[in-house]
């Protein structure tokens, strides 16, 4: 079974890719099972910790502040990292980041690279570039290693191989082992431990991502559970860290907030097993750690969000994956259907935003019912559901209208812009439905009803609309009307008064 395919060969629309996923019963079960667990874990961890909304608000404020002053904090970080002995580089595009990595790897005469999990590196497709140059590149996070062997992209930010079961994994690892491994989690993990131990000890370069970068001291911070990021940043002589330019936080104090939000939101842990702060290469007398450390600061479309009031908050994302676990669409179709490096609600907004790709605006942004579960789950309160609407609006404003939809919306404007036309439209609809109505339902799978009626029946229009019945109803109401109690009257007057005192008093948040 091939599961989802390579990005390059996958179908071109979300709809087509989703169809593949929807017909893959195993994939859907696996995704549901794991996202449910992560969701439950997050819920109990945040409840146990308490005051969750206060923490979210604090996290949001820190991220908002940092991004609003990114020029200052990034400069501060660069200066301090250099003073620590780090070689800092800049990549405006993914191509530039690949070039830099390749130059450093060639200079080091590298034959092999070990990598810890990094979403930025997925943006760059760095493994392919290294392999092309004859340099072995090994993903060392267990999940990443599995999908690397399968030749796939991660389908979840936190659990990359969420779409694979133990039988598929045993098959992949057996090929690597040259012998049949049983589908037993601990045996499979044991094999990977031994196999990758060799790889760590041979590797010339360790490559990491960066969860946070602390401006005040020029340090990078890595969160992980397996210990592979520690291996990658301890064993090889040269370390290359790929860092999205927005990963900055001002101080170590701020890390307390991020370390409270990130692990709880991602996996429901109080803290990941390892949280490592790395401040430059090993000191002259240290016995281990990289002798040479490079940090490549990557833009790759990020700066496009800066100064854009509708999308700047996208840079606040801390890549926890909580929005994926909460999303009812992701739950049905998994990550590969989104077609980009990032999946789920954050991917649906981030992919078109980073790529500035109008075709993708056409497509991914539509794969959401706008239910807002992502916003509710987000530890830094990014309004992803609103951003999806903004993307759709920009698509329309840029003239990327779908003919049929555009015509429909013109009709909408006409009819809904005038109640008389609206009233006639309802009448016409009622007359028209005679042909397709059966027992008060419309079941025909024709025209625009095909998609809807493949899963549902449509209610037919009743004999009278509310407004048509209103005159009669109003008479009844006059008969039925009771005297308002003094208390009710007072309550209503009070509501009116507080409102005029300002604000939307009945809104609860």
């Amino acid at each position: 079974m091939s599961g989802a395919s390579h990005e390059g060969t996958s179908p071109s629309t979300v709809k087509e890719r989703a169809e593949i996923a929807l017909n893959n019963e195993f994939l859907r079960k696996a995704v549901k099972f794991t996202t449910e667990r992560l969701r439950t874990g997050k819920k109990s961890a945040s409840e146990e910790h308490g005051n969750w909304d206060l923490w979210r608000e604090r996290g949001r404020q820190i991220r908002l502040h940092t991004i609003a002053h990114l020029d200052y904090y990034l400069s501060q970080f660069i200066e301090n990292a250099r003073a620590n002995g780090v070689h800092v580089h800049f990549a405006a595009t993914s191509e530039e980041a690949v070039e830099l990595t390749m130059a450093i790897a060639k200079e080091a005469g590298a034959r092999s690279v070990v990598k810890s999990k990094s979403m930025v590196s997925e943006e760059l497709h760095i493994n392919a570039a290294l392999e092309k140059a004859g340099i072995e590149s090994v993903e060392t996070d267990l999940g990443e290693y599995i999908i690397q062997l399968a030749g796939e992209a991660p389908s979840h930010i936190i659990i990359p191989a969420i779409h694979k079961n133990r039988y598929q994994i045993a098959e992949l690892l057996s090929k690597e082992a040259g012998k049949e491994l049983p589908p037993d989690t601990s045996i499979l993990a044991g094999f990977v431990r031994r196999k990758l131990r060799e790889k760590f000890l041979e590797a010339d370069i360790g490559m990491t991502g960066c969860n946070f970068a602390i401006a005040e001291t020029g340090s990078i911070v890595l969160f992980e559970n397996e210990g592979n990021a520690r291996m990658v940043s301890t064993v090889p002589k040269t370390q290359i860290t790929l860092m999205g330019m927005e990963r900055i936080i001002p101080t170590w104090d701020d890390l307390e907030v991020m370390s409270t939000l990130l692990p709880r939101s991602a996996t429901g842990q109080k803290l990941t097993v390892y949280m490592s702060g790395i401040t430059g290469p090993r000191r002259p007398l240290d016995g281990d750690g990289p002798e040479e450390m490079h940090i490549i600061i990557v833009d790759n479309g990020r700066s496009l969000q800066l100064g854009d009031p509708e999308f700047q908050e996208l840079l606040n994302c801390i890549r926890c994956g909580a929005c994926l676990n909460a999303c009812p669409v992701y739950r049905q179709i998994g990550g590969h259907a989104y077609g980009g490096t990032y999946s789920g609600p954050i991917g649906a907004v981030l992919t078109p935003s980073l790529n500035k790709n109008i075709m993708e605006w056409d497509d991914i942004a539509n794969a959401s019912s706008l239910c807002g579960a992502c916003y509710e789950a987000c530890p830094v309160k990014i309004p992803l559901h609103d951003m999806l609407v903004y993307l759709r609006n920009r698509k329309v404003k840029n003239g990327k209208r779908m003919m049929l939809e555009s015509a429909g919306m013109k009709g909408f404007k006409l009819v809904m812009g005038n109640h008389k036309l609206y009233e006639s439209a309802v009448k016409i609809g009622r007359a028209g439905q005679v042909l397709v109505k059966r027992e008060g339902k419309i079941k025909a799978k024709i025209g625009p009803l095909k998609g809807w009626n493949s899963y549902r029946h449509l209610s037919a229009l009743p004999k009278q609309s509310f407004r048509e019945a209103w005159q009669e109803l109003e008479k009844d109401l006059k008969q039925e009307m009771r005297e308002m109690t003094a208390e009710t009257k007072q309550r209503m007057e009070q509501a009116l008064k507080t409102r005029k005192g300002g604000g939307n008093s009945h809104e609860q948040h």
């Binding site: 019912s369 239910c371 579960a373 404007k413 809904m416 899963y455 449509l458 509310f466 009771r482 005297e483």
Partner: protein, 249 residues
């Protein structure tokens, strides 16, 4: 003090397809002396166009509401989603039009979703209804997440006599409606509503209660498609039917 004008914003869906919802609201409120007006020039909040990115089209529709409801003191709607549209997105829609923005904010301030009005304004938590059925409740996303309507319907339902309310598994998961989403991404939406209905059936409830006819139309449509005889009702209908039942006995 001049009498307060309380208006019904019926929403296009309840107007054209589910008039009983508005009727139940109006008759129920009459029992508390609240006289509902129905400004006839209203049409639709504009959400279908807004969510699809067609903001000019949405504005044309929104204007009908802003005009129709401007002179009301209270506006009550049977939908958290349409109320959310007014309160959260009208200010965005008219951000560059100061006059309309002002009007939009005014409307947002005075618009209440039905249970909000009953519980928060009137202070009514027990309407005295009797509804001898096993029921479950789907909290619609926009009402519960955007407006924070969580406790109001629970309080009202917990006071309905003889009704057995069973919790709906994964209640807070979206039913897959999402307006045009259900047409554009029909297979994903279909998978979502199928799962939602699976959960409804798991509860063995006779009645599914909700606060938004969009979601309820979606869920009812799938129930009917699968030939399942679960009755789908807006809470206003449950409360009014229950009041009548209680008065009869």
């Amino acid at each position: 003090m001049k009498p307060m004008k309380v208006s019904l914003f019926i929403t296009c869906l309840s107007d054209s397809l589910y008039p009983k919802v508005g009727e139940s609201m109006a008759r129920l409120l009459a029992r508390y002396g609240v006289e509902l007006h129905f400004p006839r020039t209203q049409t639709c909040c504009g959400q279908p166009a807004f969510n699809s990115g067609y903001w000019d089209e949405a504005k044309a529709s929104a204007r009908t509401l802003l005009d129709a409801l401007d002179d009301s003191d209270f506006v009550i709607s049977p939908s958290g989603s349409c109320t959310g549209m007014i309160q959260h997105y009208y200010p965005k829609l008219f951000e560059h039009d100061p006059d309309m923005l002002q009007k939009a904010k005014r409307l947002g301030e005075k618009t209440y979703e039905f249970t909000q009005f009953l519980v928060q304004v009137l202070g009514v938590e027990d309407v005295g209804a009797v509804f001898p059925h096993k029921a479950t409740y789907h909290p619609s996303c926009h009402g519960s997440r955007l407006l924070g309507i969580k406790s109001e319907p629970m309080r009202l339902m917990s006071n309905v006599k003889q009704m057995e309310l069973v919790p709906l598994p994964f209640a807070e998961d979206c039913c897959g409606f999402g307006g045009t989403f259900a047409i554009k991404m029909c297979d994903i939406s279909g998978a979502m509503v199928t799962e939602k209905v699976d959960h409804v059936l798991e509860t063995e409830a006779e009645v599914l209660i909700g606060l938004d006819m969009g979601c309820l139309m979606n869920i009812a449509g799938n129930l009917s498609y699968r030939g399942k005889p679960v009755r789908v009702m807006h809470l206003a209908e449950v409360l009014y039917e229950g009041v009548l039942a209680s008065e009869r006995s």
